[in-house]
Amino acid sequence: MKTYYNPEDLKKFGNIGEFGQELADKFFSYYNEVFKAGALTEREKSLIALAVAHAVQCPYCIDAYTSDTLEKGCAEDELMEAVHVASAIRGGASLVHGVQMMNKTKELLM
């Protein structure tokens, strides 16, 4: 069965430079810098990444950051709370646009 997503492809992420090394190198060096401890700990950054992975619904990132958060010692409830944060923001983002809908409705109705 052919599918668009293959778990094995995650390992090939590093090969993305094959079709354009320079930009890939720039991306990975930026990426690595982003995830180093700074004002936020590596653990906090990993939980943010897990939440964003769910918001953008990237199966590769969900796979990678589930492992990464576990490796950084996070517990199951922490992982799930991160997913709920993503869900709340996504849901909220839809809902807040309801204000535009309401504005427009009020504009159009007598």
């Binding site: 700990t41 590596e42 990464d68 950084k72 010692g73 517990a75």
Partner: protein, 358 residues
């Protein structure tokens, strides 16, 4: 992680045989990918044959008997294991300590305290040298397992023993999944008892260190970050204090190897170890300054080689023939399980060994 009730040996499981474990570790088909030999990794950095840097730590396994049956146990220890060190073999250890300078004696098991001569042994070691560092790998629950063990914290304190204890998580579910039902609660009580006599308290000089092994098919990452979080949580939830957290990688042998295979994580875990290989960690593997003694007096490069029955590659294979010079010049036996010691920041009984490269 499902918790076993019996050791692999008692189950007559094929992984209870050391030759079978080594066969699995070198079986490309089982792995599903071509894994380079650990030896070739050392050759590439001029570290093969791997040589000791000195003999500093004597790690003594006083027996495989244990009150727990943890799912990740590399010793395959449990209540059904009867192999324990005799007083005669302990005397041989004491001779080795008297005649040669080791700065640390690291007592391990099983649950070392279950050996009936354990306290006598600790007293004798302390009598030889009042300054030598004595470490006990205490599984914590043993302190509560039977009234005769309730005074262990005082005994450790009297003899200035450093306590090193496994606690894979600060949550009950995760700990119990790896180490057995009820282990978390008893471990917490035991830690409070150790704290009560001064262990882990600033200025007491009584060291209480925790060991973190991942409870699953993943690697530990960032010892400092893990320590910070464990300290925060254990203090807030249970008022517990401790000195350091050692993050240790699970070595793919014995019951952990069984878990990896049964859960279909074996190939992916070995690939993770390989991808995380760090030459900096390879230089500092613990077998370079440690000797490991088995319950029957045989000498090994490390506790893992001991469990694979890989005796030292020199004449002095038993404590009876202890020969410091020969042991210091031996070549350390390495195999595929060694990738567990060189992943990421590397791990030994004392946690991270090197600066992570990636």
């Amino acid at each position: 992680m499902a918790n076993p009730v019996k050791s692999l040996k008692a189950q007559k499981h094929e992984l209870g045989e050391t030759e079978f474990q080594l066969k699995v570790l070198n079986d490309t088909e089982k792995l599903g990918f071509e894994m380079p030999k650990f030896k070739s990794k050392l050759q590439a950095i001029d570290l093969y044959p791997l040589k000791p840097t000195g003999l500093e730590i004597l790690q003594i396994n006083v027996g495989k008997m244990c009150n727990q049956v943890c799912a990740h146990c590399h010793v395959d220890a449990g209540p059904d294991r009867k192999e324990i060190m005799t007083k005669e073999t302990m005397e041989l250890c004491l001779d080795a300590l008297k005649n040669h300078t080791f700065h640390t004696v690291d007592l391990t098991g099983g649950a070392p305290e279950m050996n009936p001569n354990f306290r006598w042994f600790v007293e004798q070691i302390r009598a030889i040298d009042s300054e030598i560092k004595i470490i006990v790998r205490c599984n914590l629950t043993i302190i509560l397992a039977n009234p005769r063990f309730h005074d262990l914290p005082d005994f450790f304190k009297t003899h200035k023993v450093e306590v090193v204890s496994s606690l894979p998580a600060y949550t009950e579910a995760r700990t119990d999944a790896q180490r057995g039902n009820g282990v978390f609660r008893d471990s917490i009580k035991a830690l409070q008892m150790l704290n009560a006599v001064g262990y882990g308290q600033v200025g007491s000089g009584l060291e209480l260190n925790l060991v973190y092994n991942p409870s699953g098919a993943f690697l530990p990452s960032g010892q400092a970050g893990l320590e910070l979080n464990f300290k925060r949580k254990l203090k807030a939830d249970f008022g517990i204090e401790f000195n350091q957290l050692f993050a240790i990688t699970n070595i793919p042998i014995s019951r952990y190897l069984d878990y990896l295979i049964v859960s279909d994580n074996y190939g992916a875990y070995m690939e993770k170890l390989l991808n995380a290989y760090n030459p900096g960690a390879a230089e500092h593997v613990m077998c370079r300054n440690t000797l490991s003694i088995g319950w029957d007096g045989f000498v090994f490069d490390c506790d893992f080689n001991q469990m694979l029955d890989l005796k030292v590659a020199c004449g002095a294979k038993h404590l009876r023939d202890f020969d410091r010079e020969e042991l210091e010049n031996r070549s350390i036996i390495v195999n595929q399980h060694c990738f567990g010691c060189t992943a990421g920041a590397g791990s030994s009984c004392g946690g991270e060994v090197a600066q992570a490269t990636a």
